[in-house]
């Protein structure tokens, strides 16, 4: 048996990502890129290969290479040859080019951060082309389980879905067929079973995949790493007692599942008890919000100075911005698997108020890292807001906030996952 870790790291690591933070700011691609920079800084030989939206868009009108080199160890590929759902390749020639390129990188480890924009067929071919390599997948979200963008929220009622069954999926997507759900599940499940290791950024998402039937590969929970740059700024050990305890911050895009509408509806109720309460919305301006929630306009007018819109922000500034508020609120109405916002807030030393479900409930322990409220309940959120304005409570929770994953623990977790396996293809 070979010296696993040494072999893996000497042979190099290929990080294959569905996107790149230069073009989008999703948690998965940020995590993949943080991993790349961190491993590189730690002296590992690592190559990052990312799907590129601009290159794919370009390919629809002009010829472009399938693989484009960005720097000596960074590459982009266009995925114009994929099927509409980006789970397989319609263009077998383009897939073959990409497989040959990836297989030729001579890496001992292929660490994928998604199957979307990568393709189950590409994964199978790459594994066949490199039976000697170790394959690792970080499962950031639940697209394999749920056709509704992986949200596990019912399409019509917006109720939470707790378990996938073909019949439940059919009730969300009546235009589909039971057979198609079976083909989809079998393809994705079989593809994921073939990995040597699976990494989950939360126990919540691990449990969902295991409930779905994903057993076999080595599995571990490894929290997303915030990146060396963020960790370079040390977490404050002390805050002014009860600093900004009535100042609440929302960070993120105002999409339908992020629950900003729940928060805004809770605010007038809380203001009746605590008129000094302030909400800062980071990630959107007023127009952004009203595009998604036009019905909220009278409410926002009524809230007046109690709400401020700080507009878009650079993720690199998130921790600093969070230090300027007393509480960070994550009111999502869907499960959230492992929101970066929570880690950023914990690293900033700012307590959180979160919905009591999924990755939020797991990453924010009630009374330790913050407060929970009943998902989608404006009344219960108002109760939590009022409670949180107590300076003593805010100070106490700021003092018990748990630290987030550091670089050493992160790399140790990766190395454990990179141990080679005897994989039966």
């Amino acid at each position: 048996m070979r010296d696993a870790t040494a072999s893996a790291l000497q042979g190099g690591i290929c990080i294959l990502s569905h996107a790149h933070p230069d073009f989008s700011k999703g948690g998965g691609e940020i995590s993949a890129y943080n991993q790349f920079t961190s491993l590189r800084a730690a002296g590992r030989r690592v190559v990052m290969v990312s799907a590129s939206e601009p290159a794919t868009h370009y390919a629809t009108s002009r010829p472009i290479e399938t693989i484009l080199q960005q720097s000596p160890d960074e590459y982009f590929y266009n995925f114009a040859g994929m099927t509409e759902d980006r789970l397989a390749w319609a263009d077998a020639q383009q897939r073959r080019l990409l497989v040959e390129f990836l297989a030729g990188l001579d890496c001992a480890v292929y660490h994928l951060h998604h199957y979307w924009r990568v393709g189950t067929d590409l994964i199978a071919e790459l594994m066949a082309a490199r039976p000697d390599a170790t394959f690792v997948m970080t499962l950031h979200e639940m697209l394999a389980i749920c056709l509704h963008r992986g949200q596990m929220v019912m399409t019509r009622s917006r109720e939470l879905c707790r378990r996938e069954t073909a019949m439940r999926c059919l009730s969300c997507f009546p235009e589909q067929t039971l057979e198609r759900f079976a083909f989809r599940k079998a393809t994705l499940l079989e593809t994921l079973r073939r990995f040597d290791s699976l990494l989950y950024p939360s126990a919540f998402i691990r449990d969902r995949y295991e409930d779905w039937g994903l057993h076999g590969p080595r599995a571990a929970v490894l929290e997303n790493y915030l990146g060396d740059a963020t960790h370079a700024a040390p977490r404050p050990t002390t805050r002014a007692p009860g600093a900004h305890s009535a100042h609440f911050g929302f960070f993120g895009l105002p999409s339908a599942f992020k629950g900003l509408d729940v928060l805004l509806r809770a605010l007038p109720l809380a203001l009746r008890a605590k008129p000094e309460l302030i909400l800062s919305i980071h990630g959107a301006d007023r127009a952004d919000l009203l595009r998604g929630f036009p019905a909220l306009e009278p409410l926002i007018d009524e809230l007046g100075a109690a709400v401020t819109f700080a507009g878009r922000y650079d993720p690199a500034d998130a921790v600093a911005l969070m230090r300027g508020v007393g509480w960070v609120i994550v009111p999502s109405i869907w499960w959230e698997n492992s929101p970066v916002v929570i880690q950023e807030a914990r690293h900033a030393g700012t307590p959180l108020i979160v919905s009591d479900i999924g990755g939020m409930a797991e990453k924010v322990l009630d009374g330790v890292d913050g407060l929970h409220f009943r998902r989608a309940s404006g009344v219960d959120l108002a109760r939590a807001l009022v409670e949180a304005t107590d300076p003593e409570l805010q100070q106490r929770i700021a003092g018990t906030l748990r630290p987030v994953l550091g670089q050493q623990a992160f790399i140790a977790g990766l190395e454990a996952a990179y141990q080679p396996h005897n994989r039966a293809l």
């Binding site: 067929d121 079998a186 393809t187 079989e190 076999g216």
Partner: protein, 346 residues
């Protein structure tokens, strides 16, 4: 209309109700084995004439050994709708599966609408003697190999000919792409039957590890497979993969003899013209038999625009009996006795 069982149906509908004395007769003109052969006039056996409301329905059948050999078929009919009103007819029969053929015999009103009340009863009266004639003639042919019981595994080991059935969804191609090696390990030839067969075939053709056939060529290979076949229903394969037991999808094998019996039954009582439909039904019956469920109830009813619910029930019951290899019922025997007496007195 014609059926794969060598049956023919001539239906004449009048604008006004027909008298009970109305008559219709027919013969068949066809060439044997080759379009270049001289045309022959053939009498039809076991004819059944029905007169109900404004429809005349005449059923007949050619000798068993002529099935599948006739070319350029024409039905030549002569009708006497009312005394002295003679009418000569000439028709090119359209080949349809048994359910379509039998339902047409009970349809008094053309078009897709269903018949209810008295019309449904009249339609059933036309259909009943035809079903009786079929059961009397066909039940003995299938009684030796009832399809509702599992057949033994091929004695020569698992065949190396694989057939994917009901490959209708292009999305299934992704699964076969990922699982291609499982097929390549178990077979030398792969037949793919279904609307998405070409997409799936392209995957295996690119890999060049087994030979692949689709469409009519695949059906022909299935008909002429003395070594038997391992049949894999596409969606059952997906279910086996989900259960992490893909090997269980390769266990339903039919040897050459079993396949020949299935082909016979398909010709007499297939729900579709496509052989793979009958094969998939056979596999389903086997699965249900393993679960302790079998018989008529196990046959999946055919969803189509039936002439009436009553006709649908009668046809399903009739086909299920043939699939189950059951002997004709007392009712059928009585119907046949009446037909023989009527024939003798005529």
């Amino acid at each position: 209309m014609a059926s794969p069982a060598g049956e023919f149906l001539l239906v004449l509908r009048a604008l006004a109700p027909l008298p009970a004395s109305a008559r219709l007769s027919m013969v068949l003109a066809a060439r044997l084995d080759s379009a270049a052969a001289p045309p022959r006039v053939l009498a039809l056996l076991d004819q059944r004439l029905g007169v109900q409301a404004n429809a005349l329905v005449l059923y007949g059948r050619v000798e068993a050994d002529l099935r599948g050999r006739l070319q350029g078929i024409e039905l030549l009919g002569e009708a006497e709708a009312a005394p002295g009103q003679m009418l000569r007819l000439r028709a090119h029969p359209r080949l349809v599966a048994a359910p379509d053929f039998l339902d047409a015999a009970s349809r008094l009103v053309p078009g897709p609408g269903g018949q209810t009340g008295a019309l449904a009863l009249a339609g059933a009266a036309l259909l009943r003697p035809i079903l009786a004639a079929r059961e009397a003639a066909f039940a003995p042919l299938v009684a030796s190999a009832p399809l509702s019981a599992p057949w033994p595994a091929p004695p020569g080991g698992t065949p190396r000919l694989l057939a994917i059935l009901n490959a209708d969804d292009p999305v299934s191609a992704r699964l076969f792409q990922v699982m291609a090696a499982a097929f390549e390990q178990r077979g030398d030839r792969l037949l793919i039957l279904g609307e998405a067969a070409e997409e799936i075939a392209a995957i295996f053709m690119r890999r060049r590890r087994l030979s692949v056939e689709t469409g009519p060529a695949a059906l022909e290979s299935l008909r002429a497979a003395p070594e038997g076949v391992v049949a894999i229903e596409a969606v059952r394969f997906a279910e086996a993969v989900i259960a992490d037991q893909p090997e269980s999808a390769f266990t339903q094998a039919l040897d050459g003899g079993a396949l020949a019996r299935l082909i016979t039954l398909h010709g007499l009582a297939g729900f579709s013209l496509a052989l793979d439909d009958s094969l998939a039904r056979k596999l389903r019956l086997d699965r249900l038999a393993q679960q302790g469920r079998s018989g008529e109830a196990a046959l999946v009813p055919l969803i189509r625009a039936w002439s009436s619910n009553l006709a649908a029930e009668m046809v399903h019951e009739h086909l299920a009996r043939l699939w189950a290899g059951l002997p004709p019922t007392e009712q059928v025997r009585a119907e046949e006795t009446r037909a023989e007496e009527a024939s003798a007195s005529a």
